[in-house]
């Protein structure tokens, strides 16, 4: 969860991100591309809007009977010869993986991209237990080599330019590689091929798990997911409990909108359906299949104001369109899940205290809700979080005093008018050529980069009497 970052403040982290020219370049290029691709893909897909409504309704209906669907999923996975583990916390989930690794003499685990494993800090735990985790998604591989964390839900290395990746590969893998994505991909591919063959365990997340059939679904683009689920002798899939969906016909609805929202593809290159371990007569697949169902604070949110955040498909569309994310990138948020939805997920997993600043890292522009394939009303929930933070008195007291005073002012028109007149007097030393260019105290946060219009010589209310007469002429 990158706690190291949290010794800094959000404005500091954001400021550092704004001054990182590589990051700015990488973010602008990548998010603009994602936005265009998503828009184009939905433009040629008129049924998309209805499918989004449908997908939302499925998520909502599933949450209402989440326990039933999870039991059904577990029964079906076990019927297929898999083993199901229930993890109430991140720690329990880590323990389950470590125990499996220990008991089966696992030395190396290959991983396909999974935010759930990031959420529980699995790689650190594996390393600590003497198991080498190897990320096999290209972006994840890059940041693992760089000893960093993902900065985007589906494009973990979005913060790096190709030049930076070339330098990283040259340094870490030995060689001199040019900043050409094709060359760099080939380099990673060669390095990873051997790991796939050596690994004893494959670890994945799950985009969906179908209760009716016990199918774990992985949506990927590089083919690494398929090797992770089929080459090592043990496959462990870790999923948040909200990822369960009832049936295969529901899956079709989600597959129709997920890749479009994420990368603008009709379908991702690979849609991998995993049903238990290798069966008698099958040529490939793992000997063992384990599914870990992770709660980690999710179930208690079903009845909370954050409920809708449990609909999230982890497509990343809200990050790409968010003006704040596009400026500061994912690391500045300071937690596993960045961007607008990340703020909600962070509150869900770490409590409202953890987002007292992050809840305000949004201009509430609504672009996220517009882009969300399941129409999660993120701005509304951010406002609810702000309210929660205020009501629990977690918000800083000067802020509460200011807003308390402001609230009283707005209920007393005479006081409001007096405040305008007083402001007009106080602003005098600061007005030059019709604008305020510098103000003291926290007002300076505005005037550092922007002029402020002065309070008018006559407010509208003060002009109304004249205007009224003008109307009677």
């Amino acid at each position: 969860m990158s706690e190291g970052l949290l010794r800094t403040t959000l404005p500091d982290r954001a400021g550092a991100a704004l001054r990182d020219t590589f990051l700015q370049q990488a973010l602008t290029i990548a998010t603009t591309k994602f936005i265009d691709l998503r828009r184009e893909s939905f433009e040629g897909f008129p049924q998309g809007e209805a499918l989004r409504d449908r997908a939302r309704a499925i998520k909502e209906a599933t949450l209402q009977h989440l326990d039933v669907h999870l039991e059904r999923l577990a029964d079906n996975v076990e019927r297929l010869g898999g083993t199901v583990h229930w993890a109430a916390t991140a720690e329990e989930a880590r323990e389950i993986v470590l125990r499996l690794a220990r008991d089966r003499g696992v030395r190396m685990a290959v991983k396909s991209k999974s935010m759930a494993t990031e959420e529980i800090d699995l790689n650190e735990a594996l390393e600590h237990a003497g198991v080498t985790p190897v990320e096999t998604d290209l972006g994840e591989y890059i940041i693992q080599l760089a000893h960093e964390k993902p900065s985007h839900i589906i494009a973990p290395a979005i913060h790096k330019t190709k030049g930076q990746v070339a330098e990283l590969f040259s340094r870490e893998l030995g060689g001199r590689f040019e900043a050409d994505p094709e060359v760099l991909t080939a380099v990673a591919r060669r390095a990873l091929r051997q790991k796939f063959l050596e690994a004893d365990m494959g670890i994945t997340g799950a985009n969906f798990a179908v209760a009716d059939t016990g199918t774990v679904v992985l949506v990927t683009n590089e083919g690494n997911g398929r090797m992770v689920t089929s080459l090592p002798r043990i496959h462990v899939a870790l999923m948040g409990i909200e990822k369960v969906i009832p049936s295969m016909s529901d899956l079709v609805v989600f597959l129709d909108i997920l890749a479009r929202s994420a990368t603008g593809q009709k379908l991702s290159s690979y849609t991998t359906l995993v049903r238990g371990p290798r069966r008698a007569g099958e040529l490939e697949g793992p000997e063992e299949f384990h599914l870990i169902l992770l709660d980690n604070g999710r179930a208690r949110q079903i009845a909370s104001t954050l409920r809708e955040a449990l609909y999230c498909l982890r497509c990343g569309a809200c990050l790409n369109v968010c003006p704040v994310y596009r400026q500061i990138g994912g690391h500045a948020y300071g937690y596993t899940y960045p961007g607008p939805i990340g703020i909600l997920l962070t509150a869900m997993l770490n409590g409202p205290e953890s987002v007292k600043d992050l809840a305000h890292a949004s201009s509430l522009c609504g672009a996220c809700a517009d882009a969300c394939p399941v129409r999660i009303d993120i701005p509304k929930m951010l406002i609810e979080l702000r309210r929660d933070v205020g009501e629990r008195r977690i918000a800083p007291w000067p802020e509460r005093v200011v807003f308390g005073g402001f609230g009283r002012l707005l209920q007393r028109p005479a006081l409001y008018r007096l405040a305008a007149r007083t402001g007009r007097v106080l602003q005098r030393p600061f007005v030059s050529r019709g604008a305020i260019r510098r103000l003291p105290l926290f007002f300076g946060d505005w005037t550092r980069t922007r002029d402020l219009p002065p309070i008018a010589a006559r407010t509208f209310q003060e002009r109304w009497a004249d205007l009224e007469r003008e109307g009677h002429r």
Binding site: S363, T449, Q461
Partner: protein
């Protein structure tokens, strides 16, 4: 002849204190179109800043008094998409615990419109007598665009003014970085978002940047002024009333 349309002006706090000329332009514009305009006394603010920062108890008290102020208005016209959104979308929910107040809030929500929507939906106007020379570009305010679903009315009205050449702003639907208290809570981020917006604005070659929200105008106008730009940020009402910068 049918009775004239009567409209009450909700000036909004920023409109009252910082941009009274927008209110004046609105009154003259509406009167020119035969609307009887009144201005209920005792107005302060719609309470959106309180609501957005999570101070919902106080926001509800402000909402209650605003609902009362406009109880008898036939139509309520607002020069800011965000304030109109607040009244239309959030007031009923804020006052839901008192059935009478809730009903009054729902009634106000139905009677309230942002200026461009009022002109097009209620008055059916798309051609105007005003004259305004030059190239203008239009910024979609987030609350008007995504909150109230309006992007057509302001553009139609601008095109309806003889002399106006409307050029589309690339990324017109992207936030200007204002976001109320966001602009001072994360000033660097807010300013970086603004920089991108203003670079697009200047690239259009327009002499005026038009918007329908005092918050966006404060942010974008403040940025343009600080840059020493020749582009002026003005409210739609000023163009429609032919009262833009000369």
């Amino acid at each position: 002849m049918a009775a004239p349309v009567r409209a009450s002006l909700m000036i909004t706090c920023l409109g009252d204190v910082f941009f009274p000329e927008v209110g004046v332009a609105m009154v003259r514009l509406l009167r020119g179109l035969g609307v009887e305009v009144d201005f209920p006394e005792g107005q302060t603010c719609c309470g959106l800043p309180l609501f957005n920062s999570g101070y919902h108890h106080d926001a509800a008290l402000v909402a209650a008094r605003t609902v009362e102020l406009f109880e008898r208005a036939e139509h309520v016209v607002v020069p800011s998409g965000s304030c109109a959104w607040m009244v239309k979308t959030e007031y009923p929910g804020l006052l839901k615990h008192d059935p009478a107040r809730r009903a009054a809030a729902e009634s106000l929500a139905r009677r309230t419109r942002e200026l461009s929507q009022f002109l097009v939906e209620v008055l059916g106007i798309t051609r105007l007598d005003a004259r305004f020379e030059g190239k203008v570009t239009y910024h979609d305010s987030c609350h008007l665009l995504r909150g109230l679903g309006e992007s057509a009315a302001p553009r139609a009205l601008l095109r309806g003014v003889p002399g106006v050449e409307l050029v589309e702003l690339p990324g017109a639907d992207q936030c200007c970085g204002f976001g109320g208290s966001f602009s001072v809570r994360l000033p660097e981020v807010s300013s970086a978002i603004l920089d991108k917006k203003l670079a697009s604005v200047e690239a259009t070659g327009a002499r005026c940047l038009v918007a329908c929200d005092a918050g966006c105008l404060m942010q974008m106008g403040g940025g343009l002024s600080r840059r020493g730009s020749s582009v002026k940020a003005i409210h739609l009402a000023q163009v429609l009333a032919g009262e833009g910068p000369r």
